[in-house]
Symmetry: C2
């Protein structure tokens, strides 16, 4: 029996939902419940059956509101992407883009399942397209050529949506993320450290001033901004010197 954010079990919440069942289903109610379920129990326990149970309804009822599970995922993604802050007005392109990306990152930290979900769907949803379009608009307004803007969007890749692919990403693990998982950094086990000495060396190398980061876990936010600024600074430099993709390095 696993407790969730509000200290209720999932089944208790299902019963509670059961008493409220009279409020009819709707697409947004389904999507909201799906996002909540994925947030609390992990994406791997988002099945049509579990979702229906949380809503106090029989599985097939969901299909009156979403076409199928893929379309459900698309709807969830759109809902999440819609949480990203609008651009701040009256600022130069660099601050606007930086701000939106950091906002996107905050959103995705509330929905740890979203990056993988976004990556596994193979076409962008309307909300994602709208967001990307808006970012391109910021660049163009900042004086970027369409050509450079194009390459910049590619260079940012998924980072533009607030996540970088971290390879060893503790927060990505599918498990139930409702409770703040203490999960001590687990200083890579000695036999691993012996086999991979360079990894062992850099594992604890990040010198963080404040004590908010325990042990040798590293500060995700810092690493994200490090990479983000590395890219933004490089982009700014190209922009200032009027870079254009004329001759290609073959």
């Amino acid at each position: 029996m696993v407790s969730t954010v509000a200290g209720k079990t999932r089944t208790e919440m299902a019963e509670q939902a059961d008493t409220l069942r009279r409020t009819p289903l709707s697409r947004t109610r389904v999507l909201r419940a799906a996002v909540a379920l994925a947030d609390e129990a992990g994406i791997e326990s988002l099945s049509m059956r579990n979702l229906a149970q949380d809503l106090g309804v029989v599985p097939m009822a969901l299909y009156k509101h979403v076409a199928n599970k893929d379309e459900l995922l698309d709807g969830m993604i759109d809902m999440v992407v819609g949480e990203i802050d609008p651009p701040v007005p009256d600022a130069d392109w660099k601050h606007v883009v930086r701000g939106r990306i950091l906002s996107a990152r905050q959103v995705l930290r509330r929905h740890p399942w979203a990056p993988l979900a976004i990556e596994s769907r193979n076409m962008a949803t309307p909300a994602i397209l709208a967001y990307l379009d808006s970012v391109v608009g910021t660049l163009r307004a900042g004086g970027f050529t369409a050509d450079l803007a194009h390459h910049v969007m590619h260079a940012m890749g998924s980072r533009i949506l607030g996540f970088s692919q971290e390879l060893f990403d503790a927060s990505r693990r599918a498990g139930r993320s409702g409770i703040a998982d203490p999960d001590p950094p687990a200083a890579l086990p000695p036999e691993v450290a012996a086999r991979f000495p360079h990894l062992a060396e850099i594992a604890g190398a990040a010198s963080h001033d404040d004590a908010s980061v325990v042990g040798q876990g590293c500060d995700d936010q810092f690493e994200f901004e490090f990479a983000l600024d590395l890219l933004l600074d490089g982009i700014e430099r190209l922009h200032q010197q009027g870079w254009t993709s004329s001759r290609r390095p073959r």
Copy 2:
């Protein structure tokens, strides 16, 4: 009935495998067949049952050689990562790292299912650790502090393994990738272009000199190297000026 690379159907290949069944199963034979199946038919058709059929064997037989499907995927990943070229000797860190990353990219282009598989497994496999360790070693040998090397590894993220998350990545689509899918760039449909004018504008903006890239499809390799060099140049600059993460921006 769908033909594969060699012009045989999957079932024909299974029959062929059936005649060769006498050669006993082994872990590497299982892994090789799994990689081949994923390469040809897409990761979504890699099931224990399909794989067993390709090997002319009953599904449960596989479990004598791999613990379960997750461990099978780990083994496949290790096999793929093992294809990455070793570092070229006698070159400065930048060329060595650049070369290895481009080699990794070539490998992953042969196995389009691998990026998603790598991302969805939540811990690194031994082969990935060995590869990363070797890259860190190159940086350290090039004079990087452990601190800077740490941040650099984070900044490169998944790009260090040869893929960037592209958001709309045609080559990522799950479908059968054996045949060169012509799939014309499909100049985003007019009603989409109307709703997202900035995207429409940059869609065809990349000016590629040679004609190898048809229509307004953009050159993946160019975009990848653009981002890679943006990062490497920024990193080189930090390295030269002795960057260290002393004061953090709050």
